[in-house]
């Protein structure tokens, strides 16, 4: 240990791996968590069997999005497309719901603010069910410093809007995630309202 109380980068101390090695190990672990949780989210959405998947770009969702955009989830009879903004997706999904289709929205939580007006003037008052799978950002493990401010308020924003949400993170065994997403779809239909599943893919 140095006099300042820090650990020198490449000098293991008392059997601990060096900081560089720990960072590398953590990266491997986080990647494994990302892959396992992404696979669970994919399984959950596939269990819902949506005929329309609307998505918005997200680095944490890249495995999930790749599955639907050009992976095994891009199958005949299913439309997969990008919404330009979250509120546009909410409104398109409202039309799809009216037509009896099975849409699922996939996006990141920093877009929650964009969709509140559409959600609260369309889906909520018109009693239109909607399933949104929303990836979490911010908090421990977040690498992008600018995203904490909006993302850490996700639950508060949804609570203020009266939107029902469920959280999937390290407190729920990943083996249960797919079933929980499927249950959230059923819940949206049973309650005739939007339901958001907040999925933490980053290992926090």
């Amino acid at each position: 240990m140095t006099s300042a109380g820090t650990v020198a980068d490449d000098k293991p101390e008392t059997g601990q791996p060096a900081r560089g090695q720990r960072a590398a190990d953590r990266q491997v672990l986080e990647q494994q968590v990302l892959e396992r949780r992404s696979a669970a989210v994919i399984a959950g959405i596939e269990a819902v069997d949506p005929d329309h998947v609307l998505h918005l770009a997200s680095s944490t969702l890249k495995i999930v999005l790749a599955h639907f955009i050009d992976g095994p989830g891009a199958r005949p009879g299913r439309r997969v497309f990008a919404m330009t903004r979250e509120e546009e997706g909410v409104a398109i999904a409202a039309g799809l719901e009216l037509a009896g289709a099975r849409p699922v929205l996939i996006f990141q939580d920093n877009g929650i603010g964009n969709l509140l007006t559409a959600l609260l003037t369309l889906c909520q008052p018109y009693h239109l069910p909607l399933l949104a799978v929303v990836s979490r950002r911010g908090g421990l493990g977040e690498y992008n410093s600018m995203i904490h401010t909006i993302s850490e308020r996700t639950e508060a924003l949804l609570d203020a809007a009266g939107v029902r949400w469920f959280q999937l993170d390290g407190r729920t065994p990943v083996e249960r995630w797919a079933a929980e997403i499927e249950r959230a779809w059923a819940f949206a239909r049973a309650t005739h309202r939007p339901v958001f599943v907040l999925v933490n893919l980053m290992g926090s």
Partner: protein, 201 residues
């Protein structure tokens, strides 16, 4: 200069498409349609989702085209509301729902809130939709042009857009305060019954 009032255009749309799903934007479009046509099962009235009329109609057109020969879906949108969600034009152009017909009733202002100007006067919507990949668009400002454009739009492969220049004249029309849940359910039931009738034929 246009010779068309908004109420004339709404009356025309209702008469030309009595059995077609129509998504109406909030404010004057919805209220004046109610004034000239009354409550119609095929009309879905959006009471307050600003800028989202075309998006709702897009979802409807995509959802309904799972059925063969599902027909057209019409959106009746204002210029101000369209500009609140203009990016949907790119989504429509990308997906190309063949049944989608969009009317933009363009009076150049937010009439329902006192006539504040929009930016529509400087926008070439025909060029914008063409640039976004739509299959066609027309600008109209007379009753004859409107009738001809509607005949074209209802027969053409969509998505197509008709921009109708209208005056700023308003019909006296009160607030419409129906429960939105009832509006959605009425419309859904109309869709189901139209589908049943279509399948029976």
């Amino acid at each position: 200069m246009t010779s068309l009032d908004r109420a004339d255009v709404l009356r025309h749309i209702d008469s030309a498409a009595p059995d077609t799903p129509v998504v109406l934007s909030l404010g004057g479009n919805a209220r004046e349609m109610l004034a000239v046509a009354g409550r119609k099962g095929n009309h879905f009235i959006s009471l307050d989702a600003m800028g989202q009329t075309v998006s709702v109609a897009l979802g409807l057109a995509l959802g309904l085209d799972r059925d063969q020969a599902a027909g057209k879906v019409i959106a009746v949108e204002g210029d101000g509301s369209l500009l609140m969600g203009l990016s949907v034009l790119s989504t429509v152009g990308h997906l190309k729902p063949s049944g989608l017909v969009v009317y933009i009733l363009d009076n150049g202002v937010y009439l329902a809130t006192g006539g504040q100007p929009t930016a529509s006067a400087d926008i070439d919507l025909v060029a914008v939709t063409a640039g976004c990949g739509w299959r066609g668009a027309r600008d109209v400002s007379t009753a004859a042009e409107l009738a001809e454009a509607t005949a074209w739009a209802l027969a053409a492969e969509g998505p197509v857009l008709i921009r109708v220049r209208t005056s700023q004249k308003q019909l006296p029309a009160g607030y419409f305060l129906e429960d939105p849940a009832i509006l959605a359910e009425d419309f859904r039931r109309w869709l189901q019954s139209a589908r049943s009738a279509r399948l029976a034929n």
